[in-house]
Point group: C2
Chain length 318, copies 2
């Protein structure tokens, strides 16, 4: 059995990860997969998510633990284990760091949103949230677009500073600017990506001030969470979701939808862009991702194949 830790996963590069997310959308279109609803169990305030998915040569299950108090012990709140199995024999093939897989694939889901739903010419972008996911969103944004000024906002200034230091080591020749408010970031950016655990919108804005911009929401994976004000989805010419589960699972769609049923008509699956790219330059776009096991499956499958080829990882006697 092959074991891959965080740094081994990161070695494999962004291209392979993003290509795997494209493959996941193609599999969605072909319907050649089996993915039960995400399973969830809570023990007090701690949660465990169980995300199985079957398709083609492999099947996988990602186990993600969310322990809010872990931070008090100086440890990450989100941890996880990714298990990849052979889909013919049922045998386990690989164990991977689940948190690293999540960060990479979620970054690439955002990156693909940038690739399909912004103009190639955009020069400004902003990231709301300087956590693990915010950093990963920034990496995949900069992988897809030649940004001149990258704005960053986080309530925690120290974390924002650290994130910029890390980005500078990998992406050069970019002006990194920490804004004082989320509203300032939105005003200055053509593309806004939010990766927070906010329960209330991060800014207020009239629809008019949002026109021509692309908004990507990566946080708000529960109905009681919301990153963008209702005006974003109201202003949007088109709304995309990575999976239709997002409509119920995320407060960024469920909450405005409760008030205005007509919003539902704007909502399309992101995978539809692979049949026909309907993006219109300078239109207002909202893309909401909640993630799914199929992403984890295609990403971990590609990582496994590549790791074997490049002889990366630790082989364990199972």
């Amino acid at each position: 059995m092959l074991f891959l830790n965080k740094s081994e996963i990161q070695k494999l590069g962004q291209n392979i990860i993003q290509t795997s997310i494209e493959k996941a959308y193609e599999i969605m279109l072909s319907k050649d997969y089996h993915m039960p609803d995400r399973m969830h169990t809570s023990d007090g305030q701690n949660s465990l998510l169980l995300m199985p998915c079957f398709s083609g040569q492999y099947f996988s299950t990602k186990l993600v633990s969310v322990f809010p108090e872990a931070v008090k012990h100086g440890q990450s709140v989100v941890n996880g284990v990714m298990v990849l199995f052979d889909n013919i024999s049922g045998q386990p093939l690989a164990i991977m760091d689940g948190a690293a897989i999540t960060a990479q694939r979620t970054g690439a889901v955002g990156g693909l949103g940038v690739k399909f739903l912004t103009s190639e010419k955009i020069k400004t972008a902003g990231i709301l949230g300087a956590g693990v996911q915010g950093f990963s969103q920034a990496r995949y944004l900069l992988f897809n677009r030649r940004i001149e000024t990258l704005y960053l906002y986080d309530v925690n200034l120290e974390m924002a500073g650290k994130m910029i230091e890390k980005l500078k080591q990998e992406f050069f020749g970019i002006d990194y600017v920490i804004t004082k408010t989320a509203a300032e970031l939105v005003e200055k950016s053509r593309l806004i990506i939010a990766a927070t655990i906010s329960h209330t919108p991060l800014f207020n804005a009239e629809s008019g001030a949002l026109r021509g911009k692309t908004f990507i929401s990566i946080g708000s994976y529960r109905p009681d969470m919301q990153e963008f004000p209702d005006s974003v989805i109201e202003a949007a010419d088109a709304v995309f979701v990575d999976t239709l589960f997002a409509v119920d699972e995320s407060g960024d769609i469920a909450t405005p939808l409760k008030k205005q049923a007509a919003i539902r008509e704007k909502i399309k699956e992101f995978s539809s862009l692979f049949e026909k790219n309907t993006y219109v330059e300078n239109s207002t776009i909202f893309f909401k991702s909640v993630g799914m096991g199929l992403f984890d499956l295609t990403v971990s499958s590609a990582i496994y194949d590549m790791a074997l080829k490049k002889k990366i990882g630790q082989i364990i006697d199972f």
Copy 2:
């Protein structure tokens, strides 16, 4: 992170495993655990079981794949991965061979049935089924009782022969006898343990012929499976289940219960024996186990603690 494979798990001995199952029953009595219903997903004829459980210092999830066609590729039908996590930080601590954990803990559940529900003086016992589970049942039976003649029945004579060869290497001074029929085995044994995947009862017998014997059913984990004829549960003075889920999950209880509602009154939780041992010598007993995540948790926790102490296993850089 610690990684433990099959042979490392087997090294740790039967006592530690059986003591962990006793601990699981004590935890059940104390109610100090969180165990959601076993989760299950099927992709065609292949299945994946997901069994999380939280209690005390650790929580765990066992993933078990059941791929019936794997045998055609010369591989085991049942495979699995056991993941043990820290219950304070949510961090994964250990990965273990899930099939080995299942075999050991299921053997010990049967062994504890033998310990509590048979006379210390029994000299004869029979095992129905010479698969992985049948072998494990035999090991824990012989760990608990000084059996003089062990009967074994399996439709596959070659497998029965191989199982006896393996048992002979570990348990000496025992007459091992392969019977021609399941009925012959039942007739000659004071204790009968079935570990098969049978969908129909393995033998027919009048209630009178079953009196004074102890029956343990380890297979029939689905309502469409049944190992023992209805006459077993009818003849039984007492019926024990490892968990009340067994009443609905196993055809060995669900099927006769449909015909005679009064059977329900006989059913007691095995854990009740830890409050008061109600076993009466020479009575007729039926014990049905379907297993549960709590067993996997206490067994893998004890294995983890012991492995760290004895420096067994492979440490992986997570």
